[in-house]
């Protein structure tokens, strides 16, 4: 290191260079985790190929990964717009929970409505519930300058326990033999699967919402204001952008998207509400949003990759008896190396000239 120095690039690293850095970062994390596999008595190359095979190696595997990516993508999209405004919404998990609760309320109350009416109503309620859960911290932040990180984080626990309260109590299915779950949704309340695949129609919700978000950020005045205010609050206020309202609006949108994900998870994949739908997608979403630099398209790719990693690790467990904890190690290492590799986007390492 002594003869090296870091220098700023004139222009950010191009696409080719970025890809090279990414590949090197991935190779490093794979090498490190391969070494751990080796220590655990598993042949590393075989292990990593098993992992890859389980994630993307077949049509089934790929479908599974995409299916798992759907809720992550929506939560992440929501997290990303809040982050653009530099509002640190850690609360996607709770907003997701409340969204699922809202959708379930509609599904259980009006099971006989036709699907073309019931599903939009469920979505509306899920988005409203999630949005409401996002509005509270935004309101407290703007009116009382209460830190939103702590409020959103604590509200996650409250929302999940509220969900628990409902499914252990008033919403418990009388025919579930006392287990904490609501009755199964009527067919009208279920978002179905596409043909013979395991992917549900929610993928089109993702495409639609992702496209809308891209257009919103790129072409609308509000989208522009959002970016401007995120870069510099004082300047934005000076320019007449209603910052307080903007923060609340963005947090509502953010919560609504997470709530939408909660709706899809309850309706399409579990067909009911039960505590086990909470598996931490809201936290995964934060990681995905950052890895993707808050860009909607990249969020899509990153959520599929991360979902694939989690699906693939199951294959590794099944075929080679590697403990589930290995998935966390690999995920953590990949995040850290890719993150570190980001340095080379704006900087380069030069040899120090000795004068």
């Amino acid at each position: 290191m002594l003869h090296m120095r870091i220098a700023k690039r004139q222009e950010p690293l191009g696409l080719g260079g970025s890809c090279l850095v990414l590949v090197l970062a991935l190779a490093l994390s794979l090498a490190l985790s391969g070494f751990l596999l080796f220590l655990g008595g598993t042949p590393p190359v075989k292990g990593l190929s098993t992992l890859f095979h389980g994630a993307f190696g077949s049509r089934w595997a790929f479908e599974d990964s995409v299916l798992k990516a759907i809720p992550i993508f929506l939560c992440s999209l929501g997290v990303a717009i809040a982050f653009r405004l530099k509002v640190w919404n850690i609360g996607a998990e709770g907003q997701f929970a409340l969204g699922a609760v809202g959708a379930t309320w509609v599904a259980l109350s009006y099971p006989d409505w036709p699907a073309y009416f019931l599903l939009p109503a469920m979505i509306a309620m899920a988005a409203a519930a999630g949005g409401f859960w996002g509005l509270i911290p935004a309101f407290l932040r703007q009116k009382l300058r209460t830190n939103e990180i702590i409020v959103t984080l604590m509200m996650n626990y409250v929302a999940i326990l509220f969900l628990d309260y409902l499914v252990y109590g008033v919403w418990k299915d009388p025919t579930s033999f006392g287990f904490p779950m609501t009755p199964a949704f009527s067919d009208n309340a279920v978002v179905g699967k596409i043909g013979s695949s395991s992917i549900n129609w929610g993928i089109f919700h993702c495409l639609g919402l992702g496209f809308l978000m891209w257009g919103f950020l790129k072409f609308t005045r509000l989208g522009f204001e959002l970016k401007a205010a995120g870069d510099n609050v004082a300047a934005a206020r000076y320019a007449g952008i209603p910052y307080d309202r903007l923060v609340m609006l963005v947090m509502v949108m953010s919560g609504a998207l997470a709530g939408w994900a909660g709706f899809l998870e309850a309706s399409a994949t579990v067909n009911r509400l039960q505590p086990s739908i909470m598996v931490g997608y809201g936290y995964t979403a934060i990681v995905v949003a950052w890895l993707a630099r808050l860009n909607p398209l990249s969020i899509g790719i990153a959520s599929i990759l991360l979902a694939g990693l989690r699906v693939g690790v199951e294959n590794l467990q099944l075929d080679l008896q590697v403990p589930a904890a290995f998935g966390g190690i690999l995920e953590g290492l990949i995040l850290l190396t890719v993150l570190a590799g980001g340095l080379f986007t704006h900087y380069k390492i030069e040899r120090k000239r000795i004068r």
């Binding site: 990180i149 509220f162 109590g169 589930a324 904890a325 966390g328 953590g332 570190a340 340095l343």
Partner: protein
């Protein structure tokens, strides 16, 4: 409730607040240098495992406790490499550290589940433990609790009265000015990360060596996240952190005692109490516009150009 139950509740508040207190103080120290480390949970759980393993091998809980601190520093040094050297985003790096730490601890710790190791037991302090009420609450605890009493004071002393403490705060507050004043900003931030990690590791070890004497998967159970929240709650002041940690621990202990004494409220609602109350107290205290000591440059990396 009888006075006896209330005293035992308050003693329980101190004990269940202690692991959170260690971690919160660690995070305060790190954040004072301007680095946001969300990986508290990861550092804690590695510390918990390391403390347990070392205590088991050496037979000395004290060595185990210290080893936990060292491993905590080691864990957060990963955060240092990524954020200080490679300019990685501090939020993601911290989250990644949490994921990595839990994975590593559970991967390496499987063989230690269900074993027992020597640990710390309650040790009444002479004279002090005889004080009515207070003695029972504060001075019939274990050695690690007594140790944790000293840290907030020492930390306050360090930040308020020593040259190094002031410099560390300057680095977190306004790094450009600190650089101009000739301070090695990067070095101070490294100190902030490593010392903070040390305390987080200690907090984890409190769980595996004193609160209980065992190791199991997910031993920390989300306490690292509570610590992150309590730093903000404490307005980055060590003294207020004590209040926050005991309050949280106390409400957790209270809801269990409410159940034990036969309340009819659903347990899900009772369990919400600690989280809801934390928000409530925070909202009330921001109402009064209490001045916060939030470091100005928190979470902002320093450009590495010379």
């Amino acid at each position: 409730m009888t006075t006896e139950i209330i005293i035992s509740l308050l003693a329980a508040a101190v004990q269940s607040g202690t692991p959170i207190l260690y971690a919160t103080l660690g995070e305060i120290f790190t954040e004072k240098s301007g680095v946001l480390n969300l990986g508290v949970e990861g550092a804690m759980i590695l510390g918990a495992l390391a403390g347990f393993m070392v205590a088991k091998f050496t037979g000395s809980p004290v060595i185990g406790f210290l080893a936990a601190g060292v491993v905590g520093s080691f864990a957060t040094s990963i955060h240092g490499v990524v954020c200080l050297w490679f300019q990685g985003n501090q939020v993601v790096s911290g989250l990644a550290l949490t994921i990595l730490g839990a994975g590593l601890a559970n991967y390496l710790g499987t063989a230690y589940v269900g074993l027992s190791a020597p640990g710390f037991n309650p040790l009444a302090l002479p004279v002090l433990s005889e004080i009515p009420v207070l003695g029972k609450i504060f001075f019939q605890q274990d050695l690690l609790v007594y140790f944790s009493y000293c840290i907030p004071f020492l930390m306050w002393l360090f930040f308020a009265k020593t040259r190094y403490g002031l410099s560390l705060r300057a680095v977190g507050e306004y790094p450009a000015a600190a650089t101009a004043a000739g301070l090695n900003v990067l070095l101070y931030r490294w100190v902030g990360i490593l010392v903070g990690g040390f305390f987080m590791g200690l907090g984890g070890a409190y769980l595996s060596l004193a609160y209980t004497h065992l190791w199991t998967t997910n031993l920390t159970g989300g306490r690292g996240w509570i610590a992150v929240a309590l730093v903000i709650f404490a307005f980055w002041r060590p003294g207020r952190a004590v209040f926050g940690a005991y309050l949280f621990g106390g409400v957790m202990a209270l809801q269990l005692r409410l159940q034990a004494s036969g309340t009819q409220l659903p347990s899900s609602l009772l369990l919400m109490l600690p989280y809801a109350l934390t928000v409530l107290v925070l909202v009330l205290s921001s109402w009064k516009k209490g001045s916060s000591d939030e470091p100005g440059a928190l979470g902002v990396n320093i450009e590495p150009v010379d």
